[in-house]
């Protein structure tokens, strides 16, 4: 057999650097009102263009793995979660923010990962431990982008 299959043992110890950044910063406090987090996590508005890039990045935002929407490469979008086309008409920025920060606050059975939560998780891989999926700034960028998705 070729060397292709001889040396898999090291392949099992892979590390990944697909993620542009990981965040170990302390979580910023936020307030939930109703089904929303009305105020920006950073105190500033996000950048919609940066948010679009995050949403479209399968390793960073992960959004397109489950959601369809008006993004590039429709064939590579998931259909496990609601389509995000026109989501800005249906949800306010604050509602979008809570759904990203911790959707389990709205539906505890949701499959949507909590993008800004580090506790209550099992067996998190060491390099992701105590880190949020996105930073507060990135969440604001995505919120800005999604809130602007209008029909």
């Amino acid at each position: 057999m070729s060397s292709a299959s001889k040396a898999l043992a090291p392949a099992l110890l892979l590390t990944v650097c697909a993620i542009s950044q990981v965040y170990a910063e302390a979580l910023r406090p936020f307030e939930i009102e109703g089904d929303a987090i009305p105020r920006s996590l950073t105190g500033a508005p996000g950048d919609a263009a940066r948010g679009a890039a995050i949403v479209g990045n399968r390793q960073l935002g992960l959004c397109v793995l489950c959601h369809g929407g008006p993004f590039a490469e429709p064939r590579m979008q998931g259909n496990l979660a609601p389509d995000l086309t026109g989501v800005g008409d249906r949800l306010s920025a604050g509602q979008l923010r809570l759904r990203m920060v911790d959707g389990s606050k709205i539906n505890q059975d949701t499959i949507m990962p909590s993008y800004y939560r580090t506790d209550g998780l099992e067996r998190v891989a060491p390099r992701f431990r105590d880190r949020t999926i996105l930073s507060a700034e990135e969440i604001e960028d995505v919120v800005a982008y999604l809130a602007g998705l209008r029909n």
């Binding site: 898999l8 099992l12 009102e33 979008q77 606050k105 209550g120 099992e122």
Partner: protein, 270 residues
């Protein structure tokens, strides 16, 4: 995923300012409904006609390269005992028929379930007095493919062994345990969302019908544990160690879940 807001919860939330550190849901042991037996489908049902054709034709299925290596290993004398598999077991076509379909099985010596790969290594160590094969090594996959092939077309038949019960139940729990930074269980995807598309690829039901499999993604053959590890790293969880009891428990549950389904080894998967 968006979902209906729970009115009772809103009232509570309005009253409370929740700091991030206070957000503390307990890890969910979910009750996703298992797939009904008549709805079960092999992973091959979710792949392209081309991939199915590749699996169906032994002359073009690249996994057969490993099977042929396994056939050689079966016949080769090895270890301090200078003994081949065939010396004890004879013709694999007869002695190994249906064997892979019955693993994991209980090992009285260790009082634990063992996978087929582990059983082969126990045999090597005790009877051949040879070094065990390293997990995922070429000979380990080759001999597992060859033994697995002898059960092709037969139903998966988990042993009805009371001693396996606690391990099986542990495996069932692990299958339903949300894990990793993405906080997903096996059941979230493979019981509840099979047939849906994850990033454009269909989610199969996760039945271990064809292992070891030749995965096009790997450009080679790999074990069920390698595939499970892929899933765990995919949800950003720390994978269990190779040959850990947890992996064996999951394999046990998967075998029970796929009971009666047909062995396809060596299968092709995307």
């Amino acid at each position: 995923m968006e979902a209906a807001v729970r009115p009772a919860w809103i009232g509570l939330a309005l009253a409370v300012l929740v700091a991030a550190v206070a957000v503390q849901p307990s890890p969910a042991q979910e009750t996703v409904r298992p797939i009904a037996p008549q709805d079960r489908l092999s992973g091959s049902a979710f792949m392209s006609a081309e991939a199915r054709a590749l699996q169906a034709d032994d002359a073009s299925n690249p996994a057969m390269l490993w099977v042929k290596d396994g056939e050689d290993i079966w016949a080769r004398k090895t270890g301090v005992a200078e003994r081949s598999c065939a010396d004890c077991h004879g013709e694999a076509g007869a002695s190994m028929k249906g064997v892979a379909a019955r693993y994991p099985a209980f090992d009285p010596a260790s009082q634990k379930p063992v996978t087929l790969d582990q059983r082969i290594n126990i045999c090597r160590t005790i009877n051949q007095k040879a070094e065990p094969f390293a997990p995922e090594s070429q000979p380990a996959l080759a001999i597992a493919s060859y033994v697995g092939l002898q059960s092709r077309g037969m139903p998966i038949t988990p042993p009805d062994d009371k001693r396996l019960k606690p391990f099986l139940e542990a495996g069932r729990s692990l299958f339903g345990l949300r894990q990793g930074q993405l906080n997903l269980s096996c059941a979230n995807c493979h019981d509840a969302l099979w047939g849906g598309k994850l990033g454009g690829s269909p989610i199969p039901q996760a039945h271990p019908t064809g292992y070891p499999i030749y995965r096009l993604e790997w450009q080679g053959i790999g074990s069920l544990q390698r595939r499970l590890r892929n899933c765990m790293t995919g949800v950003r969880a720390e994978p269990f160690a190779p040959n850990s009891i947890e992996f064996t428990e999951i394999e046990l549950y998967l075998a029970e879940r796929a009971k009666g389904m047909t062995v396809e080894t060596p299968a092709i998967r995307p």
